[in-house]
């Protein structure tokens, strides 16, 4: 017995009105991409749902892929059988036996769309229910609050059985909310912030500040490895690598140590904002979490945020570190982030950065320094890398070794 199709239920999209079409189109594209190497599967849609017609594809594999597509509320595999009551009985038993969660109580809901079917709804319910009770030990009927509701739909062309509901990723279809730039440091938080933003429908590109020799080639590689993880969502992920050494050196020379961190963040944000504008994005995403470090206190954010009025999205702002680590582990980014290489956030940290910086003061210190030429130079020398999932990062001559 084989599964015929998978029902895809939309989440919040179904509440949208006039722009609904574009949401569905975006999700459709993402679904097709995620299934692109599975031959023969077919996607059809109506107002309420989409259907993947399997044509011999393994339904478990297809469901696993679909669980990575944003905007899907839930999924249900469905069996298709002939309009023969014995065949239907057999299929009902098969469906019950392949469920992964244990089922103790059940009910059957039959929809008899084809009124010419020889048995009426109640007869079908009784026949199938009796068959299941006879064949599955310990099973009981509970019509009020069953563990499992087997849905049987009798149509003119065939009979469909479904009922198992597999949760989808939720969120909104990728790209349906527009584009934003993620400040990706290589730490634990920023990849999680990026993922959550993508889940909410944003198309995301990353910005990374690279300061050789103060940060190593390895920390840069770490960022690309993280990007490769994020690329698993849609197949590719862009990283803009910004040379930041000159600016950082100038800050160290010109700004008092306890304010250097605040100024560094302000300059990063200014650069990020220019890159955002060049790439037609509408927001900047950070992995900040309130009070986690000196630059993420309310006063710091107030002082740093002064340099732009572009929306800054902080998906993790109210999360605890442990909650963030939990998510990072689910995304498989934790192990990569946790590698101990110096990155731009850790090298220049002063012994005691201001946790309560003042806007007036930071503006006063910065007023003596000419940053613009260096900012312009950094923007001109940005290296943009498109990362794909599971990217082989080894050189050509190493390949034969494996």
């Amino acid at each position: 017995m084989k599964f015929d199709h998978i029902i895809i239920r939309y989440g919040e999209i179904s509440t949208k009105k006039r722009n609904r079409k574009s949401f569905v189109a975006k999700m459709r594209r993402h679904i097709l991409w995620s299934l692109k190497d599975i031959p023969n599967v077919e996607l059809t849609a109506n107002r309420e749902r989409m259907y993947i017609i399997l044509h011999d594809a393994d339904h478990k594999e297809v469901i696993a892929r679909l669980q990575g597509v944003f905007g899907i509320q839930s999924l249900s595999p469905a069996l298709k059988v002939e309009r023969d009551i014995e065949k239907i009985k057999e299929a009902a038993l098969y469906y019950m036996n392949q469920l992964s969660d244990p089922v103790h109580t059940f009910k059957i809901t039959t929809k008899r769309a084809d009124k010419e079917f020889p048995y009426v709804t109640n007869e079908v319910n009784h026949l199938l229910g009796g068959h299941l009770l006879r064949n599955i030990e310990g099973l009981k009927v509970d019509v009020k609050n069953p563990d499992f509701n087997l849905l049987v739909e009798i149509r003119r062309e065939a009979v469909y059985l479904t009922g198992e509901t597999v949760p989808g990723a939720g969120g909104l279809p990728y790209g349906s909310s527009g584009k934003a730039m993620l400040m990706l440091s290589g730490g634990i938080d920023s990849p999680v912030a990026g993922y959550l933003s993508m889940k909410r429908g944003l198309e995301v590109e990353a910005i990374h500040f690279y300061s050789p020799p103060f940060t190593s080639e390895r920390s840069r590689q770490k960022v690309l490895d993280l990007a490769a993880k994020l690329a698993e969502v849609t197949g590719s992920f862009k990283v803009h690598i910004v040379p930041f050494t000159d600016i950082q050196v100038l800050i160290q020379q010109q700004v008092p140590a306890n304010y250097s961190m605040t100024t560094t963040r302000r300059l990063m944000l200014r650069l990020a904002d220019q890159i955002r504008e060049k790439n037609h994005a509408l927001a900047i995403i950070t992995g900040e979490s309130l009070g986690q470090v000196a630059s993420q206190t309310m006063s710091s954010m107030f002082a740093i945020n002064e340099v732009t009025n572009t929306p800054i999205l902080r998906p993790l702002i109210t999360m605890d570190k442990l909650e963030i680590i939990d998510l990072a582990q689910q995304l498989d980014t934790f192990e990569i982030s946790n590698l101990p290489y110096e990155d731009c956030c850790t090298v220049f940290t002063p012994a005691s950065p201001k946790t309560q910086p003042k806007r007036e003061k930071v503006n006063y210190y910065e007023s003596f320094v000419e940053f613009e030429p260096l900012i312009e130079k950094a923007i001109q020398n940005i290296e943009t890398i498109t990362v794909v999932p599971n990217q082989q990062t080894i050189e050509k001559e190493m390949e034969g070794l494996f």
Binding site: S216, E217, R218, Q221, Q329, D332, E335, Q392, T393, I394, M398, G400, L401, F402
Partner: protein, 380 residues
């Protein structure tokens, strides 16, 4: 003529594997912990090897830890798990037919105050899941069971045991997979395995290489103190060349396992039936055992004598397991299965690999027949 039938002792490394080892040792000799470019290259090789092995085992890269081989893997898994979890209980379980590296590790732990249960095996060399369930206690923290027995090739019901142990999440499940990998399928994830030992030189890799799979979230205590390499579980500069060679050997072996599974089975059938037809020979391996191990006894005949007689004919076999054959003791597994001292003292093990041929099996059977007939005249 050379017919090598001692592949469970060690296998001949593939030429491609040695090539990789030489190239890495020559061109990428850096220490993966060094921060400069030469170190970075070595680190890349290390992480690529880890990824490849993780993919082959269908686990995560972060769950693959490199060791020096089966003995270290078993010691690290068993002692590490027992020591790190002894605050939750001090009862540990294994079988009576394990490899010495497991047996001795349990022995050491029992001297340190752990209570050990040794599960018996039946005449087919298998433990029973019912026995295991009965042996479980409130304070059980570790169950260690080999997948394929190294002496007779019996296959333990790892999947069923894993299923049972899923109901006891506080118990860690270690599997010695050294003889099984590449020969008998095992899904680490489906079987709910927490720790799994693999050795490089049993799958045509190099000696001194191995993998310990440690499921994410499982804590064990390290055996070595040092630079905290391998996620702090195994200090010591990584054997990058050996590890890359291992990744390649595992890829080729698992591929060959699919290509030559049928041939391996056929060879076993030739041995199984051929041996049964020789007078005085008793086959010890179960009918449904692993496809690459056949163990037999010629009661009354010292196995070492038979081994050397076969050697003069160019057939290389083993008495019991290579690791214990120097001690000249009886085969523990055969003794456990048949409870017959004479039978256990006259044991010969034939172990094949993908590169043996059916013709070799036939020649070996003839040689065994001749040798047994000749020696029986002299020794009885």
């Amino acid at each position: 003529m050379m017919i090598y039938l001692d592949n469970s002792a060690t296998t001949k490394p593939y030429p491609e594997v040695i090539e990789s080892f030489v190239k890495v040792s020559t061109d990428y000799f850096g220490n993966p912990s060094s921060l400069h470019g030469i170190g970075t290259q070595a680190e890349k090789l290390l992480s690529t090897a880890r990824k490849q092995i993780a993919d082959l085992l269908k686990v995560k890269s972060a769950e693959v830890f490199f060791t020096s081989g089966g003995t270290e893997g078993n010691n690290l898994a068993i002692k590490g798990a027992a020591l790190a979890n002894q605050n939750r209980g001090k009862h540990i379980i294994t079988t009576s037919i394990e490899h010495p590296s497991v047996m001795e590790a349990f022995q050491v732990l029992s001297e340190q105050g752990f209570a050990v249960t040794y599960l018996p095996v039946d005449a087919t060399g298998r433990v029973s899941v019912v026995d295991l369930e009965k042996a479980l206690r409130e304070d059980t923290i570790l169950v260690s069971i080999m997948h394929v027995n190294n002496e007779v090739g019996s296959i333990q019901p790892i999947a069923e045991i894993g299923e049972l142990l899923k109901q006891y999440p506080q118990i860690l499940f270690h599997v010695d997979h050294v003889q099984g990998i590449g020969k008998v399928d095992l899904s680490l994830i489906d079987a709910g395995i927490d720790l799994c030992t693999i050795s490089g030189h049993k799958l045509h890799g190099l000696k001194g290489t191995g993998v310990l799979y440690i499921r994410q979230g499982v804590r064990i205590a390290p055996l070595f103190s040092g630079g905290n390499q391998e996620g702090q579980f195994r200090s010591g500069t990584e054997n990058v060349a050996g590890i890359v060679a291992l990744a390649k050997a595992m890829r080729i072996s698992l591929n060959n396992c699919v290509l030559y599974a049928h041939k391996l089975k056929e060879i076993r059938t030739v041995f199984y039936h051929g041996l049964q037809e020789i007078d005085g020979v008793q086959v010890n391996s179960p009918v449904d055992g692993a496809p690459h191990i056949i163990n037999f006894s010629v009661p009354g005949l010292k196995s070492e004598v038979l081994l050397h007689e076969l050697e003069t004919e160019g057939v290389y076999v083993s008495t019991t397991s290579a690791c214990s054959s120097k001690k000249r003791t009886a085969s523990k597994t055969v003794l456990e299965m048949y409870r017959n001292q004479e039978r256990a003292e006259s044991v010969i093990r034939i172990s094949t690999s993908f590169h043996n041929e059916i013709e070799e099996a036939k020649q070996a059977i003839d040689a065994i027949g001749r040798a047994v007939a000749k020696l029986e005249k002299v020794m009885r």
